[in-house]
Symmetry: C2
Subunit: 389 residues, 2 copies
């Protein structure tokens, strides 16, 4: 069991109609606010008007940057950095899902340095020592970006999709209103659920021994997604389902469940190459990869984790043989993603071609083998992609 530092000072307003606190919270951090968002969805659900009204009635100066992409691009980050520098922005307000929040984090960091924001990424990444304060209003339960210090940015020019974490990018305040996710489509709700589960499973499937408490909390979170994602898909305005998914998405990746575990994640780096090259939805890529990765990693040395997962999350009979429980747990997870949630089950269906596997696998291992639950070489990654055909 390794030591760890727990440090998640994000303040969260959870529930409906909490935006009356927005002006007060923004004001703590300054006068000039950059509002960032993606497409028109926040206007369609009336959120944009409410946010602008709160900012104006607090007497703050409002600047805007819209058009942040799903799988947000470095060009959007650069545009935000320019506004921050030119307008002397004090605080950034990201309204949207993980893409908008991720991009906003790197705008906030980029505003504090002279170099280009893409230099925060890659092997010789520049340090992130400061960032402008960030407030978020979440509209999609998936990435957990509202309560963590990381983000992922795509660079189409280099074909890269790279992640980076840094404590200064942690949001100061996040507003989590489950009703703001009512309009999320069945498909995006399902992809979000797969993303949340993957965040937990990347930590849960680990050969580092750590706190039983945290394993049990991860099982609690996974059970919550398994119980409520189908309800949210079926009944999009079910508050209880949306609320459970929303709070689980934050806790899945804010660092709490890690404890002292230090193993690398596996499915995320494999997936990032898929969405970097094909611009698919991240959660869908994870749903397709995860059960195959579990199958690839299953052996006598790893079977115990599958048994805990299968019995505690899916309620599989604990008296069965360990290998039988493990195989059943993979089957149950597949059924959950592809039958219950209705996600596409193969890379072929998405038009992803075998001929790109070798390149993507090499890129997934650009910094060396993926040293996660089981060590994966580029060849292993290629085999796992092939299992997804």
């Amino acid at each position: 069991m390794n030591n760890f530092i727990y440090d998640i000072p994000v303040k969260v307003y959870f529930g409906e109609n909490q935006l009356s606190n927005l002006g007060t919270e923004l004001k703590r951090y300054g006068q000039r606010v950059l509002l960032t968002y993606g497409g028109g969805s926040i206007k369609r659900i009336g959120l944009y008007d409410k946010v602008v009204e709160e900012i104006r009635s607090a007497g703050l100066d409002l600047f805007e940057l819209s058009g942040i992409e799903p799988n947000p691009r470095i060009e959007s980050v650069r545009a935000g950095v320019d506004i921050c520098k030119q307008q002397g922005i004090d605080v950034l307000l990201a309204v949207g899902g993980g893409s908008t929040i991720d991009a906003t984090k790197f705008m906030a960091a980029g505003a504090c340095v002279e170099h280009d924001a893409w230099e925060f990424f890659g092997a010789d990444a520049k340090p992130i020592e400061r960032a402008l304060p960030i407030v978020t209003i979440l509209t999609l339960s998936a990435t957990g970006s509202e309560m963590d210090a990381g983000g992922v940015i795509s660079n189409l020019a280099t074909g890269d999709k790279l992640g980076r974490m840094a404590q200064p990018m942690l949001p100061k305040v996040s507003f989590l209103d489950p009703t703001l996710t009512y309009s999320v489509s069945k498909y995006q709700t399902a992809c979000g659920a797969a993303d949340i589960m993957s965040h937990i499973m990347e930590v849960y499937f680990n050969t580092n021994k750590d706190l039983f408490l945290l394993d049990s909390c991860m099982e609690a979170m996974l059970k919550t997604v398994v119980k409520f994602a189908p309800i949210a898909v079926r009944d999009p305005e079910n508050y209880e389902a949306r609320a459970n998914l929303m709070w689980t998405s934050s806790w899945a990746i804010n660092g709490f469940i890690n404890g002292g575990r230090r193993k690398a994640w596996s499915c995320h780096p494999m997936e990032h190459e898929l969405s970097a090259l094909y611009d698919i939805t991240h959660g869908l890529g994870l749903a397709i990869l995860t059960p195959r990765w579990m199958g690839y990693c299953l052996d006598e040395t790893t079977v115990d984790r599958y048994v805990s997962f299968g019995t505690n999350v899916f309620g599989i009979d604990a008296s069965l043989e360990p290998m039988a429980i493990a195989r059943e747990s993979i089957k149950r997870l597949s059924e959950f993603f592809f039958d219950t949630l209705g996600l596409q089950r193969t890379l072929s269906e998405l038009g992803i071609k075998r001929e790109d596997f070798a390149l993507m696998a090499r890129k997934a291992c650009r910094y060396g083998d993926i040293n996660g639950f089981k060590r994966l070489t580029a060849e292993d990654v290629e085999r796992i992609y092939e299992m997804c055909l």
Copy 2:
């Protein structure tokens, strides 16, 4: 489901040998440090010397207040306030269990006002708008004071033992080293376990409907205590057991599990009257009261919670009749406290007299009925005390 605000910005260093960070952390808050502690135990385990060495080598000025009692008294708080004011203390460092940390919180708050610290308590309590910064080093897993904003202080002159919460008293940094609890006696370890479980059960047994996620996390925490408290009692230097109990104790009461639940606690106000009058260990009082309180509150309207508790925490067969599961869950909890952990099972064994029940019950309801899981009048509280004879 009610809205809530989540705001727990405590930074935690978890694990062995993290005290090398103590000087750096204290320095953030100033130059003049008041070290507070209880009896000689921190000297016996060598912790005092380590702490003093860290403070001195960081070049900070050290002041001391020792002798803080279990069930800490207002006189200790006053003594600390006097030192803070006379010496211009910048930051308080509490080293010990919940008693030392609780008392230190009110010293930190008392140092910022002109009135007597006892005026922070009771029906006309003065506001707590500021407090000096607090750093803690925990030596006992029980109260969770290291990660929450509350504390309980006794006033023998008035016969009161009263609690108070206020966000400014939240510790800035807490050091949680499981090895510092190796020397905690079997008895105190068992009492601490009962205290942790009670903190969770006071929230879990609730008629407010809230997030399934949080119910499941509470069950995860309860299972952790049930699994590891007996190991820590049997094998005091078992790191895994001590670590699990320590991190669970913090999360049992830092506010995370509450969500939007707003019902009052029940066993704590009943117990505070026992330890106010008889100075017994808080966790022992809770262990004696809790199963009787559960028995008193069980009926057709409340039985569902007992069923979830019994099946998910103690693994009772879910196919039994609900009432049978409920009664079995009370039996299993009693066996856990009194047989497995070896705690005393009645108030009579502690010399607590029936003739004091009416007065204690009235005091427990001094602000009105206890409006918790089930509403309890002073007469109800008296009946529950009688069940503990």
